[in-house]
Symmetry: D2
Subunit: 344 residues, 4 copies
């Protein structure tokens, strides 16, 4: 079996989680997220974000979280602003539009939105009532290109959104990786203070399934549970989500796992950089996009699985390498060894 | 802690499942249901239903299965026919309507639909194009009242639907209990042969989460996966669902668990019947609705949790008792003991 | 050609309207309802309802008005309460559900909702968040059975809705007929004061097309125009609607036309009553449902068109007779003459 | 009052239409499009397109036609391909997305789609089932920029769509202008032969309201009327639409009106071209976009109304001038006179 750098959800879950599932397995608990594990996990998250007034709901996956959040907070004629690389635009089979809402796409270099981008959308949508009304700004951290927002970038976006009566929603499918990136000065507490709503991804950071939707803006909290149920996302055995987040939040396991994933990617990145390899984007998280000679790619694919992302010229292509909470030193060392041998 | 007869999803999952999750945990597998466990589990189901041409998809829960199936097979102007007790009508926060489809409600005594019911709906919906077009017949087995369809009843419904160009869809959230009921002559093979589409519920029969949607009618199979993804139901770690159904289907664990749940309920039912207690409906599955004196209910509630379902007169109420794959003899014996003492 | 009592939209429009369309035809006017005729017509309506703060929008038809109003004011998990005879339940091809909202049906004798009906719905929808949330009460005046609400009945409903945080919406496709009914003590001013939103039907009372949506509750007014446009209801030549309502509202033509229609129906009704004929419901508007001998029906159908509504026994059926703003004395007299001859 | 070149729906309708409405006004007719005028108008259209098997439905406006067509022919996971200038993308308040379908936007120079554009969309949407499935190609003729498709361009698109299992839908809000353009070799018959579905716009070509949806692909015809009704587009007095199309189709009035509008625009265009004025796009229909000096624009705006479309540099802006069936020689001559004076 080749080792896979294809994504961060190839394995099961962190062993602590399975241990906890075993330990609590035969307790009788209330259904639908009212179990004691879910309640405790929510308390832990509220502590980490330092906001006792945020409402928290656990759902199964990222597409589900995105469609529930967006369809819940928007009125029928309101729409979303997203970078063109946004997950909701490219990889969710039109899930947002299926709830009735348009997603406006903005071209960006690095997957990050800036206020200037949003201003131009607002200016182009002033023909009331003939155009959709932009109302929610969707950003991802880390982004789909592996880049991250700094605290000051997020502050600027947040201030702009407040002033312009827009909601700011952060897709945190890879929130751990974003926050734990070497260059990041964001904390979960800041994320919560600066966004109206965000979610904390478990699936791509050591859980079996699970994302924690955190609603900071009180005006978006009312009746939110109805939306979860209506979209088929309310698990009868909510304990499955609660137990996982309880384990991930306890002792900061969530952040340690993300840090590990980032570090493994950085080892490979640094080895490549030392050899003058260029990258599609300059990332410090668990996704890297080095531009490699096609011959080298062929050699690497004999021992590893990963996506060839994009042809850059006749002889070179960018590849996408993703590491995870479970990417061991052996796989990374093997990969690096080939690099060192082929690019001496 | 009081023992709960409130529902069949109070505990975690059957130990075999956790064992398998542990065993396969660190294997790298393809995502989105392409893992080898999911593929094997589908093969096992195809064998049990004796139909190599059925398509199978695993999703997380019953509401999700219902809304995906119905929104996938209907055109915008088509609607559903359901018994008034149908889960989609009462307990899914309008999930079906949220996908754009009306659900027509038919009053029934026992939660089961009959062809005469459907005929009258068809007759009342002939004002083309001013009325919705009835197109899908939704039935549950076992029903929300604990009753079951016999093979001949299902054959009649199936023949009628074919003749009238209607789809027949069976909600099998409690399929195991329905099929394993003392009085049932249905098999999974017959269910598959007689319905266009159905699902096999895991959540209420020993899984952590999971329902297996089985599409028998080839005209409904095309592109179904798009719908799963669009509704947020495609788990990145599809292995979580695959491993569970693999364990449940192996050696018929699924059916054994349901049989156990039914038997525990029948023990209580028979004890009550011997004492002349009446029931809301005559059920042979894991749900029973005895009509008890309010004083007796109060005594039982001191030691057990269960729902008081419906006041029947000044002094009596029907209660709902649900047993599960994990309801042990001790709880049942304790309950019976109180009955015997109070109704000597 | 037989004269038709089938409905109140068999003819074109009142001649004044065509006259005005001719007169203003070649003026250049702003599009999308910003023309001066629309603005004047809205002012006239605001005067009649004695509320300068109501927002008014013109749309083409009743189904369109219903689906725009309901989808605009409800959140995704909220639903409608309607009498089982409600037009939205039976004759709009699931238009409301197609916007994502369930309509709960209440059986009534006479097509009118009462607070006791609503209370029982609220009691049966308390299982948060597993059930849809009832939020809007839909009533019609006159109803689909030709009956009308009295001022005190509407006051009671209105008070109840306010207290229970429900919106009250009146479908006024036949508002003129309702208000001008012999027994009615309602006025348009009272309707506006007691409902959150209602509409004034033109199509069934002398216009070519057109219903005027009147939004009295300020919290429902914001951004309403977006919904009109999004649902395809914003006419480029809004003047077509404005001119019609201008003519209908001027000099109370709207009410005179409805009064005429009612009176023609009452002439037939009284003739039948004097002969001991019974009716499905006791109506004072332009719809009557006499129960006639099948032989008599056959004789009448030789000279007139109307719907045979419902078999009441072996020899008798209820028929529906509808008169309109344009039903002349000759047709009514001819009809009465046959009655007098056959039921001497 | 200044004369307006803002759009082609500033006036009422062609006098023949009002004359016919008057003439037929008091006939009793069947409702909902079953009146004899609608039936005759459909026959006339079938003759013009030389296809007895096309189904035809009349609706009120363009947004309505677009949303009904698209939501009727697509499955939930299918989407639309449109030029970025498409009316559905920019000026319909998200009406298509509100029915659940994404619209993919393609940048073009001239508002026209080419097969190469579509090929690249198909290539970028191959990640089944994680992306929406492109299924319908939406084009406008004339386009929103006033340009037109030639017969051979449409043939190429049509062939490509058939080969790739895509539907081809032509928005014909300005079909008359497109077909009657000086450089156009398209006929209505060819349009019908080469598209699966299209509509013929009345609103912008002399009607009060009305677009005729023509369904040529038999597989899209089944049950279409249900969609019309469900979206609130089925007028009770369908005669209003039927009579208008009857008049417009009789003696080719529809085409004469469009030709007149085009000619008036060409007179202005030619005057400007002779003076070296440049245009945003090279159009031969009733929309022109000359680039004028801001001083000249100011002078023109003293006597005329029109939209300043887009700043092109410090001193120049493109303006949009639209002529209509009713734009008289006087207005055009006055406009030209100013041009001649200011640009001698």
């Amino acid at each position: 079996m080749k080792f896979s750098f294809k994504n961060d959800y190839s394995e099961g879950c962190h062993p602590n989680i399975l241990q906890a599932l075993l330990q609590y397995n035969l307790d009788q608990q209330a259904g639908y997220g009212e179990d004691e594990y879910s309640l405790q996990a929510k308390e832990l998250i509220r502590k980490k974000i330092n906001n006792q007034h945020s409402d928290i709901y656990f759902v199964s996956g990222g597409t589900q979280a995105n469609l529930i959040v967006i369809s819940s907070v928007l009125k029928p004629y309101q729409c979303v602003i997203s970078a063109s690389t946004g997950h909701i635009l490219n990889n969710e089979t039109g899930a947002i539009e299926a709830t009735g809402h348009k997603v406006l796409s903005i071209e960006t270099e690095d997957g990050k939105l800036r206020t200037s981008d949003i201003i131009s959308v607002l200016e182009n949508h002033s023909n009331v009532p003939h155009q959709v009304m932009p109302k929610l700004v969707y950003i991802s951290n880390s982004t789909e290109l592996g880049t991250v927002y700094t605290a000051s970038e997020l502050e600027e976006l947040s201030g702009f959104c407040k002033k312009n009566n827009l909601y700011l929603f952060m897709d945190g499918a890879r929130m751990g990786h974003g926050i734990m990136a070497e260059k990041s000065d964001l904390t979960l507490e800041k994320v919560a203070a600066l966004t109206d709503i965000f979610y904390l991804g478990g699936t791509k950071n050591g859980a079996l399934i699970g994302e924690a939707i955190v609603i900071n803006n009180p005006s978006l909290q009312e009746d939110f549970a109805f939306n979860i149920k209506q979209k088929g996302a309310l698990l009868a055995k909510g304990r499955l989500l609660g137990i996982q987040f309880l384990e991930l939040m306890k002792d900061d396991l969530y952040f340690d796992l993300a840090k590990h994933a980032n570090e493994q990617a950085m080892k490979i990145k640094n080895t490549l950089k030392e050899r003058g390899v260029e990258f599609l984007s300059d990332t410090y998280t668990n996704q890297i996009f080095p531009i490699l000679n096609n011959d080298l790619i062929k050699i690497l694919l004999e021992k590893f699985e990963f996506y060839v992302w994009k042809k850059t010229d006749e002889n070179f292509s960018a590849v996408r390498l993703i590491t995870s909470w479970n990417t061991g030193d052996e796989a990374v060392d093997d990969f690096i060894e080939i690099i060192k041998k082929e690019l001496p």
